[in-house]
């Protein structure tokens, strides 16, 4: 995990749900196809224009709804560097971290407009909006989650755990 993630902001509204991030119609398709339709219903240009490292800024209750991991996987596939929102759908929040993408609770008074250049430090929670010359501190990730995200997500973390268990017998 990079100490600082820098990218352009993609800004979404309140209550964007995981059906919108990963539509059920593409459940049987490979992720390459599913990811093309990520956010299609609310931002048709997102999937084709987002660049690796870009930062997704959600509104309240970002990622509510279905537990489908494909929502976070689509963002991972598209190279999203971090996800910020004032509040999250509970499973989406966990899934995002499980796929190694830092997810931070954005202070409600921090203004981010589409295309703003953001710098995010996952370990400290420090967020800087270079375009607007503003900064804020989100709550840092709890230690156990930071370790998992730093390892690259739940799978790499499980590999480390299993290897340790094998070593320790």
């Amino acid at each position: 995990m990079k100490a600082e993630i820098s990218g352009r902001a993609w800004v979404f509204g309140d209550d964007v749900n995981t059906d919108v991030m990963a539509p059920g119609l593409y459940f049987k398709s490979p992720m390459a196809e599913m990811a093309k339709h990520c956010m299609e219903a609310v931002a048709p240009e997102f999937a084709r224009s987002v660049q690796p490292g870009d930062i997704v800024v959600g509104g309240r209750n970002f990622g509510i709804g279905s537990a489908r991991e494909q929502a976070a996987m689509a963002l991972q596939y598209l190279g999203v560097g971090a996800v910020l929102a004032p509040s999250f759908g509970r499973v989406f929040y966990r899934n995002t971290l499980n796929f190694g993408i830092p997810a931070l609770w954005l202070p409600a008074d921090m203004i981010v407009e589409p295309g703003d250049c953001l710098h995010v430090q996952p370990e400290t929670g420090h967020i800087r909006n270079e375009t607007r010359g503003t900064a804020c501190n989100a709550p840092a990730l709890p230690a156990h989650l930071l370790q998992m995200v730093a390892a690259g997500g739940l799978m790499p973390w499980l590999k480390l755990r299993l290897a340790k268990e094998n070593r320790d017998g």
């Binding site: 059906d19 919108v20 209750n61 509510i64 991991e69 499980n98 709890p142 499980l158």
Partner: protein, 421 residues
């Protein structure tokens, strides 16, 4: 310090005498529900990558419900892989084309008060009807559970939601939840909804399941109805013997809730949620008269035996309107069989409804009954997000089985009380 039911269950699951709200604890899982959607097809390749198997096949319940029956080679392959997984890991509690997992857990009595259970989709919260804590997670995290039998939980706050008084005719638990999506809101991560009051304690376990199921729509960690004699009776009817301490799983009298909400069921009108959110709800008269192309009875929340009986009560002696189609996908084979035995299905079929196989069906745009561009549907399912049931421009309204059936009869969104009077 007094504890909430949620704290007590998480304390037991994490091997501690007590836990405080906000604590991050590692819980041992008592029951793990895997589904064909986010189960073996997503978990098995990861187990292979990790070079390991499942931690305890006896604690896993595996259900094929999202892709049943196969409609193309891809869904057939998913179902085949799910069967292979059950055989390879010796999972005895495997239900293939028997109905929707959340409903099967209740029918078979696999949940009991005080349990800590997890499931591979968001509506796993439905298990809370049995006085246990059951939470939904994504397949990646269910992989972690399958390997370790553990999961981390941040001990949530509890919102206590009391309902008092009797429903009027044509009103059901579904109306309570559509009302709560609007009144309490959908931003409730790190909160558990604990339901109580005489309206709730007089509900069947199936109706309690509706409350807990749609706790997911409120964004809550889960929902729970503390166990009572009805819970024990339901377990006994399923052939289980409840533990001697089953009724001790309850919130202490002076435990601290984040908030307590009190509502009255007697004044509750049938509710309808307009596109594209369950929180976009109001009394049915706000949308009465809206023409519908399709009326859909289906899903874990809305096609159990009791739901089918609500539909039949409205359809008795009536016909589905010309120009509107009524699709009915019973939630389980047992519901199908019992509805066939007591005449419920005959009434529904005679009214002109189109009967579909059991399973998750059109609710998540995976099975039969998907909507075309611009079509309007009223549905007994639990969420109406844009594109959820098919085309992005389709308009899905949510209502109780009563309201969906009444709307099918008139071809327009209709207050079921007009037909039941």
């Amino acid at each position: 310090m007094p504890q909430t039911l949620t704290q007590k269950i998480l304390a037991k699951a994490s091997g501690q005498s007590r836990v405080a709200v906000g604590d991050i604890v590692t819980c041992q899982v008592d029951l793990c529900l895997l589904l064909d959607s986010g189960g073996p097809r997503r978990i098995w390749p990861r187990l292979k990558e990790l070079g390991t198997g499942v931690w305890d096949s006896e604690k896993i319940v595996l259900v094929s419900d999202h892709f049943t029956p196969a409609v193309d080679v891809e869904s057939a392959a998913i179902l085949k892989l799910t069967r292979d997984f059950a055989a390879t890991f010796g999972i005895e509690r495997f239900y293939d084309m028997q109905g929707i997992g959340h409903v099967l857990l209740a029918e078979h009595g696999w949940l009991e008060p005080g349990m800590f259970a997890v499931g591979g989709d968001s509506h796993s919260s439905m298990g809370g009807a049995f006085g246990c804590l059951m939470m939904g997670f994504g397949a990646i995290e269910m992989t972690g559970v399958a390997v370790t039998g553990e999961i981390w939980i941040q001990v949530p706050d509890t919102l206590r939601i009391n309902w008092r008084g009797d429903f009027g005719p044509g009103v059901a638990a579904k109306d309570i939840m559509l009302f709560l999506c609007r009144e309490v809101g959908t931003d409730n991560a790190f909160r558990v909804l604990e339901f109580g009051g005489d309206t709730v304690t007089s509900m069947s376990l199936a109706e309690r399941g509706v409350l807990c199921n749609m706790a997911a729509e409120l964004g809550a960690e889960t929902g729970v109805v503390p166990a009572d004699d009805a819970t024990l009776a339901a377990l006994q009817a399923a052939g289980r013997t409840p533990a001697a301490d089953a009724l001790e799983w309850c919130t202490d009298a002076d435990a601290e809730y984040l908030a307590v909400h009190d509502f009255h069921a007697t004044r509750l009108a049938p509710q309808v949620a307009a596109p594209h959110s369950p929180a976009n709800s109001g009394p049915v008269d706000q949308h009465a008269g809206t023409p519908v192309d399709q009326a859909y009875i289906g899903a874990c929340v809305g096609a159990k035996l009791e739901d089918l009986r609500m539909v039949a009560e409205v359809l008795q002696g009536r016909r589905v309107a010309s120009g509107t189609r009524l699709l009915v996908a019973p939630a389980s084979q047992r519901a199908y069989q019992e509805a066939a035995a007591d005449g419920t299905l005959a009434t529904i079929s005679a009214a002109g409804a189109y009967l579909l196989p059991t399973g998750c069906g059109a609710c998540a745009a995976l099975g039969a009954g998907i909507l075309a561009e611009d079509e309007v549907c009223i549905s007994s399912t639990n969420r109406n997000f844009q594109g959820r049931m098919g085309a992005n421009s389709a308009q899905v309204y949510l209502g109780s089985p009563y309201t969906v059936a009444a709307s099918a009869v008139t071809g327009r969104i209709t207050d079921p009380r007009e037909l039941l009077a």
